[in-house]
């Protein structure tokens, strides 16, 4: 798992991951690249991450992927990410395409629902929590 201040260097990370697994005999490599869309007059999105819980979440996915003979990788931005640059890169490697296609879907969806990352719109330099696009994590409401 890799965290970076600001936008990701997508080409560099994609290429390094390709090289890291070049001799691993995986037949399928499916990255997912998330890029900031220009909408609602935002200049950027901005991200807070709680790394200890994110690392635990990611480690559980490493194990889950291993049990299917696959591997997962992930990179995410911290702080401001201007529109048309990338905040998120994840990937699945697998010997088989079906496993890879199913795993990238589950991995990305679970990431959206349960990775401890908070998103803010940046408008006129102000950072506004994207509450309407955010999802309560599993087990929310325990203390209410």
């Amino acid at each position: 798992m890799e965290l970076y201040q600001g936008s990701l260097d997508v080409k560099a990370i994609f290429g390094r991951w390709l090289d890291e697994e070049s001799e691993s005999n995986y037949g399928a490599y499916i990255p997912f690249v998330g890029t900031i869309r220009a909408e609602d007059n935002i200049e950027a999105l901005s991200f807070d991450i709680y790394e200890p819980v994110l690392q635990t979440w990611f480690n559980s996915w490493v194990k889950k992927a291993e049990s299917k003979g696959a591997k997962v990788k992930m990179a995410h931005a911290i702080g401001d990410v201007p529109v048309h640059t990338s905040s998120y890169l994840s990937a699945v490697f697998s010997p088989k395409r079906r496993v890879a296609l199913e795993l990238i879907d589950e991995f990305v969806e679970d990431f959206k629902a349960n990775a401890p990352i908070w998103k803010y719109d940046v408008i006129d330099g102000n950072r506004i929590y994207a509450e309407d696009r955010s999802t309560p994590m599993e087990g929310s409401g325990l203390l209410s």
């Binding site: 819980v53 990305v108 990431f111 309560p136 994590m137 325990l142 203390l143």
Partner: protein
């Protein structure tokens, strides 16, 4: 002493309190105005491990994290 920390957009400073279970922490947080409105949509971690168990016993030095709705990617 238990430390309660509020993550992401909840702009509340960490709180220290005496408590022996998450239920006690819940009771106390429900009384704090800046916090109570968040609780129904927040998840909870104890010492960085997510938990669903309100009866969980806490010991001095434990750290409770309050995690509001997320949106990575």
């Amino acid at each position: 002493m238990i430390k309660i920390e509020f993550l992401g957009p909840i702009s509340v400073e960490p709180i220290e309190m005496e408590a022996t279970s998450l239920q006690e922490v819940a009771n106390r947080l429900q009384e704090i105005e800046a916090v109570s409105g968040w609780l129904d949509k927040c998840a909870v971690a104890v010492n960085d491990e997510m938990t669903n168990d309100l009866t969980k016993i806490l010991k001095s030095g434990d750290r409770v994290s309050i995690l509001p709705p997320v949106c990575g990617g």
